[in-house]
Symmetry: C2
Subunit: 266 residues, 2 copies
C-alpha cells in the first residue's frame, strides 16, 4: 500500500470545495493542492469533448505538483474524462462515480427500492452512474434527473428560500412520486442544497454524497500520515478575489489565498 | 459614409442571437458571421480581465473574415472590453451600451422618471451603463440590478412559468417599488424573458432592448446594401449540436449549421 501525503483535487469551480472540506477533516495528515477552473466554469452544460480537454489540462497542471493521488472532485469530469485523465498522470486517480455508487449499493442492498440520481446535463447524459450501478446489479431500478439550475444557484450563493424551493420541486417531484429510496447527489455543488432537497424528499430516504464516499475510499486503500500537519494550497484560472471570499466562507475560518494561473492550455 | 456589407457578431453563447435576429430583419442586404464562445460561456459571472482576454480573441477571429463592421452582441464584453477590442480590429466596432443608452435617454427626456438597468454581475459592477447615462445627464436617477440567474434560465430554455416568475420577482421587486419608468435590458439574453418582465413591471414602463438600438445605429451611420441577398454563417467553440438546435428554433425556421472552432487562443 503506497503512502499518500499530498493529494491533488480539481473541479470546474467552487463545487469541489465540498469534497476538499470533507477530505481535510477525514485526512488531517494529508496536504492538498486544489485547482478550480473558474475561468471556464461550468463544465456540466458543455459537451463531452470540451470537458475532456479541460479536465486533462487540469490534471496535467496538478500532476506538476508532486501529488501522490488525484481526486477528480467534479462529477461531470468523472463521468466523461476519467480514462483520459488517468492516461496523462502517473499517480492513482479517484473520481466521484465509483465511490458514490459503492456507498449507494450498500444502502440499496439493505433497503431495496428505486435509486435516484441527480446531476448536471453532461453527467446524466453520459449515463456513467447508470452504467456503474447496472454493471454491479442490472436489476436495480433507476431514475436519473438532470438539474442544470442547481449549479448556478449555488455559485450565486442562493441555497435556501422560495426560489430554491420552487426549483427543487421542479426537478425532484417526479423522483418523489416514483418513490425513490436512495438518492445520489451526483454533483459536488449539490450538498450545498442538502437542506431543501432533504425537506422536499423527506427523512426516510438515504442521500449519498460523493465527498464522504471518496474519503472512505482513500482511507481503505491507501496509507495515510497519522499526524495532523496537512496544509492546503489553492489555484484558480479566473481572478482570485471572488473565489477567496466564497471559499473562506465555505471552508469556515480557513483563510483562502488562491493563486491565479494564467492559462491551463489552449 | 462607408458601405457595410458584412458584419461580424459575437457573444459568449446564445444570447447574441437576439441581436442577430433583429439585424437580419432590419438589414436584409447584409451578410453576417456569428461567433458564440459556447465552450467558455457565461462571461457575466467572470472577472473583467478574463472577459477582456476572451473578447479580444473573439474579435480577432471575426476580423479574419473580411468584416466591414463588428457588433459586440454581449453586454458584459461591451462593458469591460470595448476599448481593447477596438484596438485589435481595423473596422468600426459597435457595442451594446451606447445605442441602448441613446434609446433610453430619448424616452427619459420625454417622460422623466427613474431609469432601471438590468445586467449580469460583471456588467453592473463595471458601471458602464451608469457612467454612459450620467455623462449625458448627471441628474438622471438610476437603479442598477444584477440578475445573475437570468442567463442560466435562458440557456436552459426556461423562459416562462412559476420558477421564472419567482426569479423575476426576486430581482425586480426593488425596481418596481422604486417606480422606475424606463428599464434597460442590459444583457442580450434578457429579451427572451421579456414576457415575464413585462408582466411583473406593468405596461406603463418603457423597456429598451439593445438589438433594436444597434440596428438603428447601423442604419443611421452606415451605407447598407438595398438588396435582400444577405447570408449568415455561424461558428461556436463547443460542439455544434445543441447550439444548432437551439439557434434554429430561436431564429425561427432558418436552419443553423454552425462550424466548431477548435481554439480561439490560449
Amino acid at each position: 500500500v503506497a503512502e499518500v501525503k499530498k493529494i491533488g483535487v480539481f473541479d470546474s469551480g467552487l463545487g469541489g470545495l465540498t469534497v476538499l472540506k470533507t477530505l481535510q477533516r477525514e485526512l488531517p495528515g494529508c496536504s492538498f493542492v486544489y485547482l478550480g477552473d473558474t475561468a471556464r466554469t461550468p463544465y456540466g452544460s458543455k459537451s463531452g469533448s470540451t470537458v475532456v480537454r479541460y479536465s486533462v489540462e487540469c490534471a496535467t497542471f496538478l500532476a506538476r505538483h508532486d501529488i501522490d493521488l488525484l481526486v477528480v472532485a467534479c462529477n461531470t469530469a468523472s463521468s466523461v474524462a476519467l480514462e483520459e485523465i488517468a492516461r496523462v498522470v502517473s499517480c492513482p486517480v479517484i473520481g466521484t462515480i465509483a465511490p458514490a455508487v459503492r456507498e449507494c449499493l450498500s444502502h440499496q442492498e439493505r433497503e431495496g427500492g428505486l435509486v435516484g440520481i441527480l446531476g448536471t446535463r453532461a453527467t446524466i447524459q453520459s449515463a456513467a452512474y447508470q452504467r456503474a450501478i447496472h454493471s454491479a446489479n442490472p436489476a436495480i431500478a433507476l431514475s436519473a434527473q438532470p438539474c442544470p439550475l442547481f449549479v448556478p444557484l449555488v455559485e450565486e450563493g442562493i441555497t435556501s428560500g422560495p426560489i430554491v424551493e420552487k426549483i427543487v420541486e421542479f426537478y425532484l417531484r417526479p423522483l418523489r412520486e416514483e418513490g425513490v429510496s436512495s438518492l445520489i447527489l451526483g454533483c459536488t455543488h449539490y450538498p450545498l442544497l442538502l437542506g431543501p432537497i432533504r425537506d422536499f424528499m423527506g427523512n426516510h430516504i438515504a442521500i449519498v454524497e460523493c465527498a464522504d464516499a471518496i474519503a472512505r475510499e482513500i482511507q481503505s486503500s491507501h496509507d495515510i500520515p497519522l499526524d495532523r500537519g496537512g496544509t492546503s494550497r489553492f489555484f484558480v484560472t479566473d481572478e482570485v478575489s471572488r473565489f477567496n471570499s466564497l471559499a473562506s466562507t465555505f471552508l469556515q475560518g480557513a483563510l483562502v489565498e488562491a493563486i491565479k494561473v494564467d492559462s491551463l492550455g489552449s
